[in-house]
């Protein structure tokens, strides 16, 4: 996990940003915060695989944050804000029951840090930004709207649902923002977990076969990780009230079939890509998930999937180890 501490003159802005999970979206959020040029970052250990260790790490993180907050003047504490961001997610669509328990335990450990800080320091406004998943919550549902009830179909979706519920139960003093992105694509390095689009591009460049766990007709709504990161960063700095839980459905509002994505990727690469289709009950991911465009938040400005594919292609070509 990473702690960003404001280095310029303390004011009413966010003083601390505590980010858990620097994956596809998390690392992009880190970049956006770093680009502001106002925050220094510190990397602290947080174990994702050992719950006993993660609880110990959480205690150390709490102490570290407390020491920073204790050094602030009363004025800063009364007007400043601390933001916690959860962009972690080791378990994907194929998460098992064990993954579900482990990740939920990690999330609850992080919530305990927030609770501890809230109890120790009653003054600064606390913000919690949770990255959930529209794909997990609304699997198999079409034209999802803000009022559509989540119906998780697998452990991954249930995990996201449980995380949202756990966050909602936190004190009303904490402003909660829950982001529900649809199918996220992007590229932050070959070592990171890759989604459908970056896999198709990467394998296409290498003339390798990509395996699709669905069908060519599967409809999804694709959003670029960079767009989500920009939206989260922008949301950190808007005026907050601690009244409600805010839900942001992050989608493009335009469904795309895998066939359409394949055509775009082939156009960008200028050659045919190789596909094979494989599905077992555990990996089957062929249900449609689409979002109603009118449900999107007002300040959300995603780029088209075609342009996004071009961006990812550029990133893969310029910054990756394609070996």
């Amino acid at each position: 996990m990473i702690v960003f501490q404001k280095q310029t003159q303390p004011d009413k802005e966010i003083q601390l940003v505590v980010l858990f999970g620097a994956g596809l979206i998390g690392s992009s959020v880190c970049n956006k915060i770093n680009k502001l040029g106002e925050y220094s970052s510190t990397l602290l250990p947080f174990s994702w695989n050992n719950s006993a260790q993660s609880r110990q790490d959480a205690n150390k993180i709490s102490l570290y944050l407390s020491s920073i907050l204790a050094s602030y003047s009363t004025d800063i504490l009364s007007s400043g804000k601390i933001a916690f961001i959860w962009t972690a997610g080791k378990a994907g669509f194929t998460a098992s029951e064990t993954d579900w328990h482990d990740e939920l335990a990690n999330f609850n450990t992080v919530l305990s840090i927030v609770k501890h800080i809230a109890e120790q320091f009653p003054e600064p406004l606390l913000l919690f930004h949770l990255l959930s998943s529209a794909g997990g919550l609304f699997e198999g549902q079409r034209l999802v709207h803000n009022s559509t009830p989540p119906k998780p179909q697998r452990y991954y979706g249930q995990l996201k649902y449980d995380q949202e519920k756990a966050l909602e139960q936190l004190s009303r003093r904490i402003t909660k923002t829950i982001y529900r992105p649809t199918s996220v694509y992007g590229f932050t390095g070959a070592s990171q977990r890759m989604g459908l689009i970056s896999t198709l591009i990467s394998n296409g460049i290498k003339n390798k076969v990509s395996t699709i766990f669905g069908s060519l007709s599967t409809l999804r709504d694709y959003v670029l990780n960079d767009d989500i990161a920009t939206h989260i960063r922008n949301n950190l700095f808007i005026k907050h009230t601690n009244e409600d839980v805010f839900f942001h459905l992050l989608a493009s509002g335009k469904p795309s079939s895998i066939y359409e994505i394949r055509c775009f990727v082939e156009q960008v690469l200028g050659k045919k890509i190789y596909l094979q289709f494989h599905s077992t009950p555990e990996t089957d991911n062929s249900t449609d998930i689409t979002v109603n465009a009118s449900a999107l938040p007002p300040a959300w400005t995603p780029i088209s999937v075609k342009n996004g594919i071009r961006c990812v292609h550029e990133k893969i070509l310029s910054g990756s180890d394609l070996s």
């Binding site: 198999g140 079409r142 179909q153 060519l216 007709s217 409809l219 066939y259 359409e260 055509c263 089957d284």
Partner: protein
Amino acid sequence: MLVINFRFHSTHLTHKTITKMNTIGVSTVTPVYAGSSFLPELIDRIEQIREKWDNSDYPLELIEAIFVNDDSIDDSLQVLYEIQKEKPWIKIINLSRNFGQHQATVAGILHSSGDWVVTLDEDLQHNPLLIETMLEHAVTSGFDIVYATPEECVHENFFRDWSSKTFKSIISYITDNTHVRKFNSFRLIRGTIGRAASSVCSHGTYFDIALCWFTNNVSSIRLPLKDQRFVDSGKSGYTTRKLFSHARSMIVSSQTKVVRLGAAIGFIGMMVAGILGGKVLFDKFIQPETIPVQGWTSLILASVFFSGLLAVLLGIVLEYISVILLHIQGKPTFFVTDRLSDQILLTYYKNRENHDRLSKTDTA
């Protein structure tokens, strides 16, 4: 309690499949260019069928009505925005400039989520209430695309209807695509196929030809259609220029028969020239007295032979170009589609039929 391991098998329907497929979603797509006076009534009619399905046990749901504003020349966009305030199931797509009806239709289909997509004209020529009839025809006969063809003169003008029919017949012959005669802008398309065809549509691709790349299960059904705009004003949305533009797109999007026909004629010319050349040579050496004018026959035969050779070679080159063009346009080598969801409607129709039969028996 979580239930996982759902899987869609062709041999059996699992719990999730049934849940997912309880209702069949239908999207409508309407390109808008100058329809402000027609749109309120069109939307009323769409709403009628939407409510009818909602309030009955028909396993259908009109999930969205997509209107693609193709840089309309009247206040259609404002009319749509005004209506959308009360009807959130209306989706408006605003194109940056006028791209044309086909491109607007393609854009609309690419924004759709329905299991079936119906394309409608803005001018009330196509009655949304007929969607049910088209859908029943498609599902009961296993079609992926159903075009509506007019029962009688759609323009109430013999020459206009005759020219339209003749034009389609000529294009059908040239492109070697028998479905061309059925083409109409009132179509019901299986969503997966409509979206796949829309994905590959590019400059010069004719959308209906692209649809035929993905399926051969194309049918038409005779329905009462009227081009009210033409009947009222005598003006059709299709000018002669547009018709020729459509013809060009259809020919470019197809592997044309003309190319092969030209090559075949050239080959026949070559053969004839070869045979006759042999006869001339025979006469020249065996019975030279039968040739009154020296040199003329050889000249004509050489000319026919080499013209034929050139026609054959040109045919081969054009065939290559045609293959490359289709490759660039995205004609697929294969496409997979799932028609199992039709079972829900088939079961419904069967139950309805049984119910009607029983009712009749009871009445008797």
